[in-house]
Symmetry: C2
Subunit: 356 residues, 2 copies
């Protein structure tokens, strides 16, 4: 069990040793730890080893040159200099917020980036400015489009955060697939079968066997199959890919680089690195922030108080489980699974960072 501040010190030192500025090391660590607090451990400390190995192989630049390569009053493209994804992502979201202050909205497409952690981190940055925040990213391919047997899309998540008043803010942050990559890996480790409709084998048949991802199989888009609307999940994931990868000048679809060092670099590139897309929408471009927040409060109460099935005591508002976890885990401390803790210690050892 680690306190938030101990882990923050450790990871910040680790990234500093890789050559990050202290400020950058703290940003990367904050995003990873926010994932731990919000119980999205697949995007937390688990990633330190992956990031370290990619850096060690020269596949990520720890002191990137970040620059705006194109812009209009409400738009920009940012080149993230092949840095750790969080650095270019935070820079891009801040730029979107600045643009929104001037024109009402700001939209930034980011290229030449890497895995950026939880999408929701950047969307939530807009909240304190009385703005709606939007953040999407493409990712290395694990998902087969409807009717395809090839991995062509990532789990391509989208996050959307809208400020409320007395109620807690609305924060949706979700992959455009029925199941996250990390949960498939976990089921495989535990020897568990998954429900039908999430995975397919190398011929495109539904299967519950989580090991298929290593045998030519793929994750399916949200919806599962064409009868249940997987073409709609495929559309969503494609939209994320076009915004993140096509309009930014990054790689898209099957060309998005892997976020782990044990997968080789891609032979072919159609752009630079991984891509993200960020939006900031100033509420008072539409109505006063106070009025909007009152309306969000009413929306939230209406949904939370709707009648539930017998097995459930209330309808969940997007962001609620993560916020509750955040408070609880911050107080109680962060528990790492043994394999993740071992990996963290190994990386710390190699870099000469003391853990206790």
């Amino acid at each position: 069990m680690y306190s938030y501040s101990d882990l923050l010190r450790i990871t910040t030192e680790i990234f500093s040793k890789m050559g990050c500025s202290n400020e950058d090391a703290a940003i990367i660590s904050d995003v990873l730890l926010r994932a731990e607090l919000r119980k999205i451990s697949s995007h937390g400390i688990l990633r330190v080893k992956n990031y370290y190995q990619l850096w060690k192989e020269g596949r990520i630049d720890s002191s990137p040159e970040i620059k705006i390569v194109h812009e209009a009053p409400s738009t920009a493209v940012v080149d993230a200099g092949n840095g750790f994804g969080m650095i270019g992502a935070k820079y891009s979201m801040e730029l979107a917020i600045e643009k929104a202050k001037k024109t009402g909205t700001g939209w930034v497409a980011t290229r030449n980036s890497n895995h950026y952690g939880i999408a929701g981190y950047y969307a939530m940055m807009a909240l304190e400015h009385d703005m709606i925040g939007i953040s999407v990213t493409n990712a290395n391919p694990t998902v087969a489009p409807t009717f395809s047997v090839e991995k062509m899309l990532g789990t391509n998540p989208m996050a959307f955060a809208a400020p409320a008043g007395r109620e807690d803010d609305f924060v949706a942050d979700f992959a455009t697939t029925p199941i996250a990559r990390g949960k498939v890996a976990l089921a495989e480790k535990k020897g568990e079968k998954l429900s039908d409709g999430m995975l397919q084998d190398e011929k495109g048949k539904t299967t519950g066997d989580p090991s298929v991802l290593r045998k030519g199989g793929a994750i399916r888009p949200l919806g599962g199959d064409a009868v249940h609307g997987s073409h709609k999940g495929y559309c969503m994931s494609s939209i994320v890919d076009i915004l993140s990868g096509v309009i930014s000048g990054a790689n898209f679809g099957p060309f998005v680089p892997p976020a782990v060092a044990y997968l080789p670099r891609k032979d072919r590139q159609v752009g630079k690195g991984t891509g993200h897309f960020f939006g900031a929408v100033r509420i008072d471009g539409f109505m006063t922030a106070d009025e909007f927040k009152e309306r969000m409060d009413e929306w939230i109460r209406t949904f939370r108080n709707s009648e539930t099935t017998e097995e459930n005591d209330h309808v969940i508002i997007p962001g609620e489980p993560e916020r509750l976890a955040e408070k609880e885990i911050y107080k109680k401390g962060i528990e790492l699974v043994p394999a993740v803790e071992d990996d963290l210690r190994k990386v710390a050892d190699e870099l000469g960072v003391k853990i206790t």
Copy 2:
């Protein structure tokens, strides 16, 4: 069988007789017929009777006063004056395009509107300006959030259109549910069962019985159940509702007015009418339109040529089936199902419009 131009004349006369200007009547008719051509008949001529009855009961204003009630350089709220949804929607999308010309992007939230037909119509308006178009709308409640047994959300569709170069444009237009309301009604008429995971009964249990929608049941969000990610479909549908209903000052969630006259007006209103949200994104706010279109061509070819399952000969690009249908049906003529044709004739008779 009707030719496109005959049906256009008939429906334009019908809406003119209801008091619409000739221009407005032609817009409404064009949107409805575009749905017929694109084989989305649930949003086509079928709606004429519904619109007529709502107008007859004084629930829709055929000569609405449309006005901009709030704006910033890249944003606006439009009050659609309780007109037929197409009128305020087209006005709003045109405004979004104008704003995009100046600041790079334009975003318009529309309130006090009604059913606006196919979402894709407005998104596609952006294409000829070398812009990406976005269009979403809320709708009368038929969908239960994950864990709920109440109808709280509409099928809340989203449309996203991006221009390609040599290839056909990318046009995604889809409800955030596994199945459209119209397909459930069709299955009921035919006495067919649906697959599990699309509908639930009044207790929230999955069922294949399409009649449950009239017996306290509901459509489920995309994903079907919590195991298969229905909370993600619920998130998407909620995002559409917040953009369309909350930030516009329209009704949201269960308060969205019905699009048919046989359902009564809502007792309670939390805003004005139905809401929509439109976006126009100028490609050259990010990169030249030529470069983007070349990249979209590559995206499209990459996906279309990915390996398929044995049962399918190619992976479908969003918008492809609708575009093929459009060409074919325009040439062949529009076939109306007998009940829809009867209803059209009755409305025409009542208004004194000659059909042949």
